[in-house]
């Protein structure tokens, strides 16, 4: 309930007041529409009809309506129905005059009035009947109008309330959203600001850091200078190294050259000039002899060259060479065109040409074969002997001292059997003086061996010769 206000204020609030229609003490508003007070319990039952029995009742009803609609809101609404009986009752005198006397008087008066009353009653009823229909219709019309008004008013009222509620609800919601939006916007603004500031700080710091530690221009410059210096040094060192190497190479080459020259001089030592005859390097037309001449004078003449073993054989030299390994000349080419003309087959010619020299065995056998055989035997012996202390077989060779075995040692002493004697000997009974002879080889034996070998070889050769000739 709004408080009372000044007129101006009230006018402003008119709408509200009117819409509420519940202002205490403001019965006579100018408004024409019907309003139901707030606490007004609807009295109209959906199927209810109010019977008005007389014109006075009608007027009474009218007043009642006005009464209803303009009564104080606090008064509970009620509908008063005036029936004829009730009206008659209302006309009875009061009880103050005393029950007995009054009753009599009243009766007399009533009886006096009775005929007229009957007429009156009749007229009245007729009159009522006469207008009953139209009254009824009018009542229906009024009621329908009234009810329509009421329902519309109620709907309007509901609508108003709905709008009101929605208005407030929406306002509330929108304010809430707005507050949230504002908050977010503020937050974003703040964040942007902070970010910007952070970027500013980081920018400065990173610039500083990078310049100081990572891309330090001066350090880089120093580093590059150092590298350039280092490179120079390395270059110089390598140059020196290369020079040294070159010198070494040159020295080696010089030595090689010297050796070659030396060899040449030794080889051509016969060109040395003598006292009498000047050599070719010592021309008499020259002031000084050729350096070669000096070289020749310095060196010794080359000795007769020994026959060298072919190089390819160096790892084959120690192969078991039992049959006298002999190098053969290269084979003739296999396929060659036969030359035009009365010539033999080239292969045949080649074969003829490269045929190794075949000699008679008599010639082939060396004179010194005996000597060679002896040599060979000697060599064999020398090769086979690993040790100077020749290992001799057991027979005829006795150990120096006897070492008794543990099994045979006993505290009872040793029997001499097997050590001193094997069986009893009686030399005095021997017929001849027999002594043991050591089996050493005599030099005569060896010579005899050789003779045997020689004889065999001769026999073989003779056989071969015989075979050849046969």
């Amino acid at each position: 309930m709004l408080p009372r206000k000044s007129r101006g204020a009230r006018r402003k609030l008119g709408a509200t007041i009117r819409s509420f229609g519940s202002q205490g003490g403001r019965r006579k508003t100018k408004q024409h529409r019907l309003f139901f007070p707030r606490r007004f319990t609807p009295f109209v039952r959906p199927s209810g009809l109010y019977f008005l029995s007389s014109p006075s009742a009608f007027t009474q009803f009218e007043t009642t309506l006005s009464h209803i609609f303009h009564t104080h809101t606090n008064t509970p609404p009620c509908v008063v129905w005036y029936s004829p009986v009730a009206m008659a009752t209302a006309c009875t005198p009061s009880r103050e005059a005393g029950w007995e006397g009054a009753r009599m008087v009243t009766l007399a008066r009533l009886q006096e009035r009775l005929p007229g009353l009957k007429e009156d009653y009749f007229h009245r009823n007729r009159y009522v009947d006469q207008y009953r229909k139209s009254e009824y219709n009018a009542a229906v019309k009024i009621q329908s109008w009234l009810r329509g008004c009421k329902v519309r008013a109620y709907i309007r009222y509901l609508n108003k309330m709905m709008v009101f509620i929605q208005k407030w609800w929406r306002g509330y919601q929108a304010r809430k959203i707005f507050r949230k939006m504002a908050e977010t916007a503020y937050f974003i603004m703040k964040m942007n600001f902070y970010n910007e500031m952070a970027v500013r700080i980081q920018k400065r710091w990173r610039g500083y850091y990078v310049r100081k530690y990572i891309h330090n221009y001066y350090a880089l410059k120093r580093y590059l200078e150092a590298i350039a210096l280092n490179n120079e040094m390395i270059r110089k060192e390598l140059e020196e190294f290369a020079e040294m190497k070159e010198k070494e190479e040159a020295k080696k080459a010089l030595e090689r050259e010297e050796r070659k020259k030396d060899y040449l001089a030794r080889k051509m030592h016969y060109l040395l000039s003598t006292e009498q005859i000047a050599g070719i390097y010592n021309s008499p037309y020259r002031k000084s002899p050729d350096p070669m001449e000096l070289q020749l004078r310095k060196v010794k003449p080359l000795k007769e060259k020994k026959k060298q073993i072919p190089k390819e054989l160096h790892w084959q030299a120690c192969i078991d060479d039992s049959f006298g390994f002999q190098r053969v000349p290269a084979l003739p080419p296999i396929q060659r065109q036969k030359p035009q003309g009365p010539f033999r087959d080239p292969a045949e010619v080649q074969q003829q040409r490269y045929k190794p020299f075949e000699e008679f065995l008599k010639v082939a056998a060396s004179e010194a074969s005996l000597k060679l055989a002896r040599e060979k035997l000697k060599q064999e012996e020398w090769r086979n002997r690993v040790h100077d202390n020749v290992f001799l077989p057991f027979s005829g060779h006795e150990p120096d001292t006897y070492v008794p075995s543990m099994q045979r040692a006993s505290k009872y002493g040793q029997s001499s059997y097997g050590l001193k004697h094997f069986r009893e000997e009686h030399p005095e009974k021997w017929i001849g003086k027999k002594l043991s002879v050591s089996p050493s080889s005599s030099p005569e034996k060896t010579v005899g061996d050789f003779q045997e070998i020689y004889a065999e070889i001769c026999k073989e050769k003779m056989l071969e010769v015989l075979l050849l000739f046969s």
Binding site: L224, I227, I234, L238, F241, D320, D321, F325, V328
Partner: protein, 504 residues
């Protein structure tokens, strides 16, 4: 009597085998020998009772098989290998040597032949031969193993599985130079296929011994050692670091000054293989002065020996701008320019172009250093030349693009305006359009040198990037100057003269 018959027979056999072995040394005889059915004749002689004949027969076979693939295949098809493998384990050292020679000669030709040898079970006997007392046998066996492992990863794996690596590492430590050389080469052949194989070699402790041998005066040994180290280092960062940790660094640089070409080449390859992995390893090489040494090496040799050095410079420069700057300071660019213009072979040119591109792609400073050496026109000419290989064209194009996108040195860019194709011209004009708006002096120079005129002559498609750049350049100048330099200006002037109505 009998004796004589046998002697004759044996002598004949010996003579035959020796003659065949002798003939097989000359390539021109081999076909004839083959036609004469020498294989079938030699095969029984491998099982001869006389060891000398066996050996010589094996040698003859080896020489034949060495000659070409078909003969080697004939050896395999003739079922000679099992005999050889069998007697490899049994016979004396000379025979072992000869048999290993045959195996080597067969294995050398193709992976299939090598696989055939592996299938015969030769690996185990060869590994046993590695344990032999005689260095010659060891040498022959490790040679054969190296030739087998050379072909592919599976064969190498088979060699590793046979347990050859520890013996090969032992062989490196022998005093005989020839044996060391061949063992090092075998290790190189094994480790070149995959990181795992290289790791096995490293696990056997090869690196330390190999690294020691860099000091060796023998050039051929040095070649093999350097090659083995580079084959180990090429696979991964870890392996490269292990090689570096063997303290090869100042020493390898002396190899770059060696008199032997292959030592130089292999040393440069080793440095390249190490440098290509990480910036740190490159930095280490730069700090050791390796770049200067390599540049000197490039300067004093020719042809393919230069190639690894050139690539090494590219790898180092590719890692970071500081390293690229170090490369520039070591005076690499003149050498590379010389290589680019002097070398006759396309692949070396391509490598040089690639390296220059890697050096120049970092910053305007780098690009300027490259451009000042007058490299750009040379690169362009190779790109345009129709006779240059496709690879060279691709490499030069990339290098040009890399350098041009960073280059702000206008005098060296200007010649490119005249003869560059549109796809290069785009970058050139783009660089002008970037520089000219901010540099009044350059704007003036650009007009006086005729660049602006050239730009007006370029016909670019409307809306293309090139057109945009041209517009940017035109916007740097007053309109009448642009119009003055545009090619139709004289006609336009004449037209105006024609259309002019004289005022009387």
């Amino acid at each position: 009597m009998f004796h004589r018959v046998f002697e004759q027979y044996q002598r004949a056999r010996t003579q035959f085998v020796q003659a065949v072995a002798e003939l097989a040394t000359r390539p021109q005889n081999i076909e004839t020998l083959q036609n004469a059915g020498v294989m079938a004749l030699l095969r029984p002689l491998l099982l001869d009772v006389v060891p000398n004949i066996q050996q010589t027969a094996a040698m003859a076979l080896g020489r034949l098989a060495n000659y070409n693939n078909d003969l080697a295949e004939a050896v395999v098809k003739g079922d000679i290998l099992p005999q050889l493998v069998y007697s490899l384990a049994e016979q004396n050292r000379f025979y072992k040597k000869a048999a290993a020679f045959v195996l080597r000669a067969v294995a050398k030709h193709s992976p299939q032949l090598a696989q055939a040898i592996v299938n015969c079970g030769a690996l185990d006997t060869l590994v046993i031969c590695l344990e032999d007392f005689d260095p010659g046998v060891k040498e022959a066996a490790s040679w054969a193993l190296g030739y087998i492992a050379r072909h592919n990863a599976e064969l190498s794996q088979a060699v590793v599985d046979a347990g050859a690596i520890p013996f090969l590492v032992l062989c490196i430590q022998e005093p005989e130079t020839a044996l060391r050389r061949i063992a090092a080469s075998a290790l190189s052949d094994v480790s070149k296929h995959s990181p795992e194989l290289a790791q096995t070699v490293v696990d056997a402790g090869a690196i330390a011994h190999l690294a020691q041998m860099i000091f060796n005066p023998d050039a051929k040994l040095k070649r093999q050692v350097l090659s083995a180290l580079s084959q180990i280092a090429k696979h991964s960062v870890d392996l490269a670091e292990m090689v570096v940790e063997a303290e090869i660094f100042p020493v390898v640089l002396t190899c770059l000054k060696d008199s032997d070409e292959y030592v130089k080449k292999n040393a440069a390859t080793l440095i390249r293989e190490i440098a290509k992995h990480t910036p740190e390893l490159s930095q280490l090489i730069v700090n050791a002065g390796g770049v200067a040494a390599v540049i000197d090496c490039i300067g004093c040799c020719k042809g393919n020996v230069r190639l690894p050095g050139i690539m090494m410079l590219g790898y180092v420069a590719a890692h970071s701008e500081n390293l690229a700057m170090a490369v520039i300071l070591s005076k690499a660019i003149p050498q590379l320019a010389v290589c680019l213009s002097e070398e006759p072979e396309d692949h070396i040119k391509a490598a040089a172009a690639w390296s220059l591109g890697q050096i120049g792609r970092h910053t305007p400073e780098h690009a300027r250093a490259v451009a000042v050496a007058n490299v750009l026109p040379v690169l362009l000419s190779f790109y345009m030349a129709s006779e240059s290989a496709e690879d060279l064209q691709v490499k030069t194009k990339k290098a040009l693009k890399n350098i041009l996108q960073n280059c702000t040195h206008l005098p060296s860019l200007e010649p490119l305006l005249y003869d560059a194709p549109p796809n290069i011209l785009k970058h050139v004009v783009g660089q002008f359009s970037k520089v000219l708006p901010h540099d009044p002096k350059a704007r003036r120079l650009f007009v006086t040198s005729g660049g602006l005129k050239k730009v007006q002559e370029i016909k670019a498609e409307a809306g293309s990037l090139l057109q945009e750049y041209i517009n940017t350049i035109n916007n740097c100048y007053p309109e009448e100057i642009v119009r003055y330099y545009s090619p139709e200006y004289s006609e336009a002037l004449l037209e105006r003269v024609e259309n002019y109505q004289p005022v009387l």
